[in-house]
């Protein structure tokens, strides 16, 4: 049986129609579109509903809204608005630690524990009071669940076996937190400002727990905190809706809800903010920002970010890449200024040390600049001839842009960079397995303390821990000792000096080339007031926003 034998070869008797006439029409159509594109728009602008803040951004990265698990930009930025921690970093100066759910704290004489006094009268959004049990539940479950950010709490020496002894109830409003790691109370406080140290409502979560998951499955898309907002709806890849928590201990927010809308395309995000269909747009490219700067109705907020971008060299890839002369030459083959000013226009500054500006002890000097002749000489002296270098790069802005600039400048010294774009996990996997030659990476501190960066770049005794130094195949027992000494140091001035010394050494000679420090550009509608964003990536605050 056959229904139709030849639809795809339907008889076509009018092949002789004037093809040129057709083409003419097509061209006319195209030019009409083009002309209309150029026409200035004039109709009334849209507006978002009153009391509702609409944020256009990509939320595709979100994995879990459980503070013990979430470790992506979207989720950590939400935790500050939904949960509180015992202590928090100051919004403007992250190095200052302020009370949050703890009204005050007292270090023990031996410097190995802290006793916190809970803020009187603090309640969760559910109405339950904040108790020492909630603190114990929150911190112990985070360690026992052992999800992505758990390593932050592990820095205190906590493990699933000992955390129950480390976090203990003193009385109805006091909780004691002790640690076995060789670190001081200042460092412990910094750790407790991390999103994973958020305090969840034990009484609300426990009934939702199943199979020993401490409520993890439920908390992935629900909230049980004391922050200014609560999660009302979460539709993955679509939107996150937060509603005001009128009884928030930090004061009720001025908005009644916040909607994070997933708009994956940055051009579409720009349209939405320009048209007034969004109040805030995040993650726009520098050219889009530059174009919006002249527009009426929007303003661009530039927020320094703690993100540093660096070139990572795999010293084990081959003899050339293991040669410190190559590391040195690479430092002169980067058009730092051109990338920062022209390519990324305002979204990054030249920065050449592992601590970002804003962290105590960060080096601000920039000893390296593009100098092809010098690089050539260094390479020639080391007898490094023309070679091709595999260069896996994140398949997204700005990394691909930076990579192409490097490709152009390295080529001038006879070094061919073979850019291999890939998704993040692919690039990470290559880093872990040492299956790369050089790669472009970024680092965002996990908590507000220099050790977060130092432990990544300056610790690798025997390739046993997954640090950036290990991924570079760079074994540095001496620097590791210095890093361990720095985190132990109790005197702030001395500690700062230790980190400065570490940075100088790594700046001069290491398989890393630090290039840039990021700067976030957030676009806001003109009428918006009270939006705050801090240096670290999680520090996004909607509670004071007014329209």
């Amino acid at each position: 049986m056959s229904v139709s034998s030849s639809l795809s070869r339907s008889p076509d008797r009018h092949g002789s129609l004037a093809a040129l006439r057709r083409m003419g029409l097509t061209v006319a159509l195209m030019s009409a579109v083009a002309a209309a594109v150029l026409m200035p728009g004039g109709a009334a602008r849209a507006a978002t509903p009153p009391g509702v803040l609409v944020v256009a951004q990509s939320i595709d990265d979100a994995v879990s809204f459980d503070p013990a698990e979430g470790f992506e930009l979207t989720t950590v930025q939400t935790f500050n608005n939904v949960y509180q921690r015992l202590v928090q970093s100051n919004r403007d100066d992250g190095t200052r630690i302020e009370p949050a759910l703890a009204a005050s704290w007292q270090p023990a004489a031996d410097g190995k524990s802290l006793t916190f006094t809970l803020a009187p009268g603090a309640r969760f959004a559910s109405g339950h009071p904040v108790r020492p049990e909630d603190v114990i539940f929150s911190l112990t479950r985070a360690v026992k669940l052992n999800k992505a950010p758990a390593f932050i709490l592990n820095e205190l020496g906590w493990s699933a076996d000992n955390v129950d002894q480390a976090v203990t109830r003193v009385d109805d409003n006091h909780v004691k937190i002790a640690w076995s790691a060789d670190v001081g109370p200042a460092f412990a406080l910094a750790i407790l400002t991390a999103p994973i140290a958020s305090i969840v409502d034990e009484a609300a979560v426990t009934p939702q727990a199943s199979g020993g998951d401490f409520g993890n499955a439920w908390l992935k898309s629900h909230s049980a905190g004391s922050g200014a907002f609560t999660i009302t709806t979460y539709a993955p890849h679509e939107a996150l809706v937060l509603d005001a928590n009128a009884s928030a201990p930090g004061g009720a927010p001025k908005l009644h809800s916040v909607i994070l809308r997933n708009v994956p395309d940055s051009a579409a995000r720009r349209l939405l903010i320009e048209q007034g269909d969004a109040d805030i747009a995040r993650g726009l490219g520098s050219d889009q920002i530059a174009a919006l700067k002249g527009e009426a109705g929007v303003k661009v907020l530039a927020v320094p970010s703690a993100r540093t971008d660096y070139l990572l060299i795999n010293t084990k890839a081959n003899a050339t890449l293991g040669n410190p002369a190559f590391w040195e030459a690479a430092r002169y083959l980067i058009d730092y200024q051109g990338i920062a000013t022209n390519l990324l226009g305002g979204q990054a500054q030249v920065h050449q040390a592992f601590l970002p500006v804003g962290f105590p002890g960060a080096l601000k000097d920039t000893p390296f600049k593009l100098d092809i002749a010098k690089a050539r000489k260094i390479l020639a002296d080391a007898k490094i001839g023309p070679t091709t270098i595999a260069f896996p790069v994140f398949n997204e802005a700005p990394f691909l842009q930076i990579a192409q600039s490097l490709q152009a400048t390295f080529a001038q010294a006879g070094l061919t960079l073979d850019i291999q774009p890939g998704v993040a996990s692919d690039i990470y996997a290559k880093g872990r397995s040492g299956n790369y030659a050089i790669t472009l990476r970024y680092w965002i501190p996990d908590y507000f303390d220099p050790h977060s960066n130092a432990s990544a770049f300056a610790i690798n005794r025997d390739n046993s821990h997954n640090t950036v130094a290990r991924q570079a195949g760079w074994v540095i027992p001496e620097l590791s000792d210095e890093t361990a000494a720095a985190v132990k140091e109790q005197d702030p001035a001395k500690r700062t000096a230790l980190y400065e010394a570490l940075q100088h050494k790594i700046q001069a000679r290491s398989p890393y080339v630090f290039m840039l420090q990021g700067s976030e550009q957030v676009v806001l509608r003109d009428g918006l007031k009270g939006y705050a964003q801090g240096l670290n990536s999680d520090q996004v605050y909607y509670d004071q926003v007014e329209k």
């Binding site: 056959s2 034998s5 030849s6 795809s8 070869r9 008889p11 076509d12 008797r13 092949g15 002789s16 129609l17 004037a18 093809a19 040129l20 057709r22 083409m23 097509t26 195209m30 083009a34 594109v37 150029l38 395309d265 940055s266 051009a267 720009r270 349209l271 726009l284 490219g285 050219d287 889009q288 174009a291 058009d335 051109g338 990338i339 022209n342 390519l343 398949n395 997204e396 802005a397 691909l400 842009q401 990579a403 192409q404 600039s405 490709q407 152009a408 073979d418 850019i419 291999q420 774009p421 890939g422 998704v423």
Partner: protein, 283 residues
């Protein structure tokens, strides 16, 4: 049932020449080949020469279509962009059609279990979300021209297999093959010498029609960052590069978009003409 008997190709060629649509398509494809070959001569600049102090320049006498986000001359990149497009088309055509036809002819000729097994595989591949599967392949193999071509070919062959099988089955039942078998032509000789030539015309039409789609799919891959590796100029990735600034430097998106459109149109026009010529029902 299918009873397509091919016509001899030579008078068809003459008819192809009389079809303005096909001629126009053929002309545009010829032009693309010329541009691809002569790109170094035609292009006013090195397509990969960066000048980031002069990025996103407006069109001028020096840069007719302005410069892109790296200060590279857009016209030069547009010219060089023909190369990966044509290479990909050739690569896909050379892989997809032979693979599909081979599967289809073998299935149709052998019949029985072989046919059932081969066609079952074909059905399975056919019911995949094809573009997504191609994305997945590229994600596995890594971006690049060859990988993109492989991905598109690996996901697009079933249509050829089905068509070739149906036509082979029709031939198998036909006296024509029985006659050939009677004079002792069997097995591979029969397939290559007598089945294949009869299956080819419809394959060529389909191929011409498909190539337009391949160009679009390749551009889609480039648009999603799964196409050729930087810094190679490729139209789909040029559209993607221009997208963030589409409201201000719209020509950066419009020009490669138009190029994709015209290239695809050229193949569609040629396909139309070929169908006029090769489809026997016109007589």
């Amino acid at each position: 049932m299918m009873a397509t008997m091919p016509t001899a190709p030579s008078p068809g060629l003459a008819r192809l020449m009389r079809s303005p649509a096909a001629l126009f398509g053929l002309g545009m494809i010829g032009l693309m080949i010329v541009v691809a070959v002569l790109a170094p001569v035609l292009a006013p600049f090195d397509p990969n020469l960066q000048d980031i102090a002069n990025r996103l320049a407006r069109p001028s006498a020096q840069h007719w279509l302005g410069t892109d986000g790296f200060g590279r001359d857009q016209v030069s990149r547009l010219f060089y962009g023909v190369r990966p497009t044509l290479l990909l088309v050739i690569l896909v055509a050379a892989l997809m059609a032979p693979l599909g036809v081979a599967v289809g002819v073998v299935a149709g000729y052998c019949g029985g279990l072989v046919e059932r097994a081969l066609m079952r595989v074909t059905d399975i591949v056919m019911s995949f979300p094809r573009l997504l599967l191609a994305f997945a392949f590229v994600a596995i193999l890594g971006p690049g021209l060859i990988n993109g071509g492989l991905a598109l070919a690996l996901t697009s062959w079933p249509a050829y297999a089905r068509q070739a099988r149906v036509e082979t089955v029709a031939l198998r039942d036909h006296d024509y093959l029985a006659a050939a078998e009677m004079v002792g032509i069997r097995g591979w000789r029969l397939i290559v010498g007598h089945v294949l030539p009869l299956v080819l015309p419809s394959t060529i039409i389909r191929l011409a029609l498909d190539l337009a789609g391949i160009i679009l799919a390749a551009a889609g891959l480039g648009f999603l960052g799964l196409g050729v590796r930087p810094p190679t100029a490729e139209w789909g990735s040029m559209v993607a590069d221009g997208t963030p600034v589409i409201f201000d430097e719209w020509w950066l998106t419009a020009a490669p978009g138009c190029a994709i459109f015209l290239a695809s149109l050229a193949f569609n026009l040629l396909a139309d003409g070929l169908r006029d010529v090769l489809d026997p029902r016109h007589d």
